[in-house]
Symmetry: C2
Subunit: 592 residues, 2 copies
């Protein structure tokens, strides 16, 4: 047995910010070094941020990533960290690869560098490229086919990347045959509701499969529609959780591991699967380091968030990073007195501070008295900036110029509000937040260029029933901490209304939200057809009504701002349907 | 030698419209049968339309596609066409496939059916799944691994699908080893500028590779951002063009082929590449058919369109099909007197007829007299419906409610126009056409929810210099036919202006369009970095300015309506960059 001190850097990179990410890598490596870490591991594509999408195909970006890696390696040496092993995810690209149809331009690879002694000692390229859900890695990367095992203080350490452990077979089997004592998995693994349990279960299974201690390091933070939740984990070969980092927070997880000495049995350089195993040795003799007692290390097993807190955390993280990484400080929200805008405002205040949140009430001639007072109540509870811009005069001026009736007139009001919001955004530099929820978006219950205006939509992937649930949870959580609940009780309890005509209620146009969300969960999240829904007990007329609305709303959904993905299928990222599409689900498929 | 009569059905399916596509297949098969065709081949995914995107993953859709194929086969039998071989692209799905990570749900396959005698005799599944550019087929399909050879009247006929002939290796090599006399390639191959020559060259090369006569059948028509141009081709093994269909038109291409009798040498059921070859025999004896003389067949080699006519044809086709397949009859366009709206209107009139095109002039207090008169001139030349809605009063009402200055005030005018257009759209059922061009879109020279409003943007992929070129071509073409040129000469010759402030010109904010389009072609189309651009002779300051604007405009581009793709990289379909992205091209990459 050898003792190794391992540091997992659960950090928040910014896509494309090579300078900033490199500076952060150096800073975190120094901190880990100060804590005596032998091995310091960063997430997948830590140097470039993740996912980089088409940037991967640009030779200039590939070159810059490789050059920055070299810079970081030599700076680590100059910083006195050359005797540690740093594992760092970056974008590689095979220079001189000829352009071949079906191979991404420049043959980019999603790679991990083994950095030691001021240089890149070895590298590993991801074998399994996910190409489903939010992933498109066959477009961007060439798969690797070898494994690197580095001997560190007499322990054999292997590194693989993310999807490599999700798919059966592949490098995991090679890790076992190579007798590695420690398997480090670097990840860019996005948050999904209830995914954390799957992740722990997987990590335990792969530790058992390989017979190695497994260290799983994930990034944290928001990147466009993705939210990375951290949740880095270290488990023993027996499946015991040795350390776990908190969710949605940057964290340097440091843990001491007692690991088996490298096997002395001879290994073939190529295993039965045809995978070449490259072996390197890091340093010569076991390094002596200041053996900080474990008690001085960070708390090693962070408590898990409960379900509602976890979703809410994802929404706050996604919003904060989208706003700040895009260079905005402030946001503006149309506050209607309804529950969607109230929850959006609460999330924004938690993410950015109430001083950076501007709420605008834009009453029309159809707006109820309670919609104004509930909006004002929200402002008072949260402390956000609050102004009122009545829209009746502007609406009337349009109606003088062109004849509009029915839905066209209803939409006009929403669009006038959109113009006001965008004016305030352009004039004052606020990012506009759209407040629509996933249920509305599914069935197209929104106005193009009206309430759909904005740069980001925090509730885009949150069904209406979950909007209520999260609002109640947020208020209860505030009460438990002796704080003012941010969301007016009236906004939670009153029947939802768009207030675009006198006495209008959502229930005039939509099924009850409990029913609607049930159908949508089957149809959207799970791609079930109408006959399956009817077989599962849903009313046939309800199913046909909801599916028809959902199919017809594809264009509106495409034009909606991005928002944080929290579910299996988030519109925009995961469900790609043609706009021009005559397929309609039928109660029963055509028979032969 | 045996003589076979082959019909290639270059037709225009509608995505998801199984009933409609099936009816069309039956109708075209009858027409081909009436002309005595032995073999009738339809394009890739002809039964479902193409591409179906996430529909491929729905079990209900897979089931419906298979059931419809069975229906079509038996109807062909009932129609007296059971003695012909019909080759038909459809979506298959392996029933009972268990859900496995990395395998698309339901194991869908992009397949070709061999239909004969009222049933599906055999099938082939595409081997090479393209996953670059506009294609994402690794998300949607499981690759096939066998080849089917059908003996028809003593001739061995093989079928492969689209990408199968673009990539080296794969089933093409198997076709040669299998001694097929005829190779039918069914395609969903989208239009790109200058692609037609590449296609002919490829078809000739594969005919030589296989030693077989090659029949290439492609679909025609628009599907969201894709335009399929037809251009079906038959070449002999020696590379002689035997028949070619026109571009952008439905066409039944019928040709008589003298083909070698099937080889009698024994073939291994599995070739050296591990590809299994399934052999089936269609019918028993050579069928006697009414031997129509070739002179009664359609003209067999259609003339090629010249470059400008070809691009213009793609734009007209894309617009017509997007509008009509989505159930619209009429469009509305903001006509400003400028060249972009004039060309958009001309395309719309050509696609839909002037009676279905509504032009709205929306002068503001900054609009010049010539902008109104040039718009009116356009209306007179084309015959489109023309109305005027002055916007000053509406703009003023917003400015009374909120203080807006500078760009915020400029954008306000564009957004008021957007609200008017959407009001007319909602009230009268017109589809709004956005008029922006690719140069503007690249550098973000447009207003979110202003001029970017619309359901479709015909010039989205057309650089400004090409807008002028196509306008001149369209006018000249009209003159040559003795018709009124649709586009006012003043709209072509005057300096471009957004007219959002007094005396404003595009050249205040943008480089000369010749220069701008040169930089964009390198940066956007070819993914070259700034150092490469400077090395190629572009001014460094110009490069930095253009790249900075282009990088910053990603969000605006995402929100833009879809438009017909005509180039290598069309925004929306082909260039996928993160919104949150700090990567900036530098004049030289960072050095190690």
């Amino acid at each position: 047995m050898s003792r190794l001190r391992l540091a997992l850097a659960q950090f928040n990179p910014v896509v494309g910010d090579l300078d900033g990410n490199a500076a952060k890598v150096l800073d975190w490596a120094r901190r880990a070094g100060d804590q005596g870490a032998d091995i310091i591991a960063f997430p997948e594509m830590a140097l470039t941020g993740y996912p980089v999408e088409d940037l991967a195909l640009r030779r200039s970006f590939q070159d810059a990533s490789r050059a920055m890696l070299t810079d970081v390696a030599s700076q680590l040496g100059r910083d006195g960290l050359g005797d540690r092993l740093v594992v760092l995810g970056y974008l590689d690209g095979a220079p001189g690869t000829s352009s071949t149809l079906g191979i991404p331009a420049g043959a980019p690879q999603n790679a991990a560098a083994f950095v030691h002694d001021g240089r890149v000692l070895a590298r590993y390229a991801k074998h399994h490229l996910p190409n489903y859900g939010v992933f498109d890695e066959f477009r961007y990367f060439v798969a690797g086919s070898s494994l690197t095992v580095a001997q560190v203080n007499g322990v054999d350490v292997a590194v693989v990347i993310c999807e490599d452990i999700w798919q059966d077979g592949g490098p995991v089997a090679t890790v076992r045959d190579a007798d590695a004592g420690l398997l480090i998995v670097i990840n860019g693994s996005p948050y999904e509701r209830n995914k954390d349990d799957v992740r722990l279960e997987l990590v335990r299974r792969r530790a058992a499969d390989t017979g190695a201690t497994l260290a799983y390091v994930n990034m944290v933070g928001g990147q466009d529609e993705l939210v990375f939740d951290g949740d880095s984990i270290v488990v023993s070969a027996q499946g015991e959780v040795l350390a776990r980092a908190p969710q949605f927070e940057e964290h340097l997880l440091v843990v001491d591991l007692d690991l088996p000495a490298a096997s002395e049995r001879p290994h073939d350089p190529t295993d039965a699967r045809g995978v070449t195993v490259e072996r390197v040795t890091v340093g010569g003799q076991p390094r002596s380091y200041p053996a900080l007692p474990v008690s001085e290390l960070s708390p090693s097993i962070a408590p898990r968030l409960e379900d509602d807190a976890e979703v809410y955390g994802a929404l706050v993280t996604g919003l904060r990073d989208y706003v700040t990484k895009n260079g905005f400080q402030t946001v503006v929200i149309a506050v209607s007195g309804g529950i969607d805008s109230a929850l959006t405002a609460a999330i924004a205040c938690d993410a950015l501070g109430a001083a950076n949140v501007h709420g605008v009430s834009m009453p029309s001639s159809y707006s109820s008295e309670h919609s104004r007072s509930d909006a004002a109540d929200l402002a008072e509870r949260t402390g956000l900036h609050f102004t009122t811009v009545p829209i009746a005069a502007m609406v009337d001026e349009f109606l003088r110029a062109i004849d509009l009736t029915g839905v066209a007139e209803e939409n006009l009001q929403a669009r006038v509000r959109g113009v006001v919001l965008m004016g305030l955004s352009n004039e004052h530099g606020h990012l506009v937040l759209a407040t629509g929820n996933k249920s509305e978006l599914s069935v197209g219950y929104s106005t193009l260029y009206g309430d759909a205006v904005g740069g980001y939509a925090p509730l885009k992937d949150v069904p209406k029933t979950l909007v209520w649930q999260l609002s109640r949870w947020r208020n209860k959580d505030a009460e438990a901490r002796g704080e003012t609940p941010p969301i007016p009780e009236a906004s939670i309890s009153k029947p939802p209304s768009a207030e675009l005509r006198p006495g209008q209620l959502d229930s005039d146009s939509l099924p009850d939200y409990e029913l609607l969300d049930g159908v949508l969960d089957s149809y959207v999240e799970n791609d079930r057809g109408s006959s399956e829904l009817v077989a599962a007990g849903f009313d046939q007329a309800l199913v046909e009504r909801v599916l028809k609305m959902t199919d017809a709303a594809e264009y509106k959904r495409r034009q909606y701002p991005p928002g944080p993905k929290i579910s299996l299928k988030a519109f925009g990222r995961d469900r790609r349907l043609p706009i021009t599409n005559r397929w309609r689900e039928h109660p029963s498929p055509p028979t032969a």
